[in-house]
Amino acid sequence: MKLTELFDKGEFVVTGEIGPIKGAINRDKSIHPTCAKEARTLHGHVHAVNVTDNQSAVMRLGSLAASVALKQQGIEPVYQLTCRDRNRIALQSDLLTAYSLGIDNVLLLTGDHIQLGDHKEAKPVFDLDSVQLLSMAMGLRNGHDITGHPIENPPDMAYGAVVNPNFEPLELQLLKMRKKIDAGAEFFQTQAVYDLEVFETFMNEAVKLGVPVQVGLVVLKSPQMGRFMNANVSGITVPSSWIEEIGSVDKDDRKKKAAEMMGNFLRQVKPMVQGVHLMPLGWADVVPSILETAEISIQ
């Protein structure tokens, strides 16, 4: 099921996210990797689950293999594909492969730089940027590869993109967003936001572009995590008020607190957006209460 069909119907689209394991899927089908277990926890509460592509440039199980594994279990994946590790030949081939294996949704991104990951001496590829990747993906849908050669049975998948509302200067990020839309982006998932005012300023401009936006939320699990993200995760700022609030309760009560904080924030931003993208980072079990607090339920 393409997410664009849900947006077209006016549904508030809810997606979750899992990170593939560092390792392979066991051939004993009764043993499920942790990421599949997380996806099953999300199932029924979200429309689809993003599957990250060697996120933070840390080498893991491939996003496509994990996406297909979810699809086989009846969970709709959003296959993430980045420009970091593949040239235009590999990107196009992977898009054709994804469609051939039943993938309906792809999130097309630049990807975190190799220097942020665990293979710092690897050669960064970045043959294309995310705008060029979107343009090339649209070309495949329209029946030709990037060189103009016709292709057989063109793939038909929904193409999503990302945008960072926290970026300064915002005008420059909006310029990139416009280029992504012109190239073929059909929906956006935002980088994690925690500041209502910052997000409102962004949405006041983004709404004019007429493409559905899902607000991105990373579940804040502890004050340490907030401080860690501020120091190490690019493009995300966790305000001190959030760090203090999650730290105001004992460890045992943090899941409940996190659900309440994320849920309340989501309830406030809900009227501005067409969906939410929840990144629970291992705490998939708090997603139902976040959605409940925000008064969101999927059809």
């Binding site: 630049t110 990807g111 940027d129 995310s130 060029q132 960072n164 970026f167 300064e168 990020q173 310029l175």
Partner: protein
């Protein structure tokens, strides 16, 4: 200019076999600016090697200050005529220059054995006597008309052509919080120039065949031909 930095002395010493006679060659242009192979450093390298038991038969830095080692006719003249006797005694040449200079010594000595004394690190601007900064990646297909002269292939860690990624924070790159985001620099410059509209157009993917190696250039006073895996391109400078 080609920025170079000397290799660790022990690494250089390890290249040289026992009893091997070495002639040291420096460069009076780029390596001189980098203090990696000018007159002083070349003389010093000869002494440093001697102190470590290497037999150095001679050394030179061809030409006046500003002369490049990679100018083959000049280097050949110096090594084959001026230093012919010492060069004849040498088993190998330790070259304190960029990789182009090392190859020039191979050509100038009729295929002599060479050792690189430097790592060639980038092509740069000599911003001051102590600072060399990289602003061009020598990619063969210049896009900086659209970016106010600032190269995104060089200043953006991900070499993005259509605007920034989402990773920069407070104008700093996600790879290095000490370094400015190339795209924020481009944006600020074009804003100041009142030319932000230059960023609106879609920049198509690079033709990496123009960045293939090895490439060559044939020049005359009236035209030049650039050869790469993208083919040959001849441009006149007359019309």
């Amino acid at each position: 200019m080609h920025a170079t930095i000397q290799k660790p002395i022990q690494e250089i010493v390890n290249y040289i076999k026992p009893g091997e006679k070495v002639f040291v060659v420096g460069c009076n242009n780029c390596a001189w600016k980098c203090h990696s192979g000018g007159v002083d450093e070349t003389k010093m390298m000869a002494e440093r090697l001697s102190r470590r038991g290497v037999e150095v038969v001679g050394y030179t830095v061809p030409g006046p200050q500003g002369m490049s080692l990679c100018k083959l006719d000049h280097t050949e003249k110096v090594l084959k005529e001026e230093f012919a006797d010492l060069v004849a005694k040498a088993d190998s040449f330790l070259v304190l220059s960029c990789g182009q200079g090392v190859h020039t010594v191979i050509d100038a000595t009729g295929g002599g054995m060479v050792h690189p004394g430097c790592d060639t690190i980038f092509g740069g601007e000599t911003v001051s006597a102590t600072d060399i900064e990289e602003f061009c990646s020598l990619c063969g297909e210049c896009v900086i008309e659209f970016t106010g002269g600032l190269c995104p292939m060089t200043l953006c860690s991900k070499q993005l052509l259509n605007g920034p990624c989402g990773g920069a924070e407070k104008g700093k790159c996600e790879v290095d919080s000490e370094r400015n985001c190339g795209w924020v620099m481009i944006y600020e410059r074009l804003k100041k120039l009142g030319r932000l509209e230059l960023l609106d157009s879609y920049q198509k993917p690079k033709n990496h065949a123009k960045w293939s190696r090895p490439r060559s250039l044939r020049v005359s006073t009236t035209e030049a031909t650039f050869s790469s895996q993208a083919g040959k391109v001849t441009v006149s400078n007359q019309e």
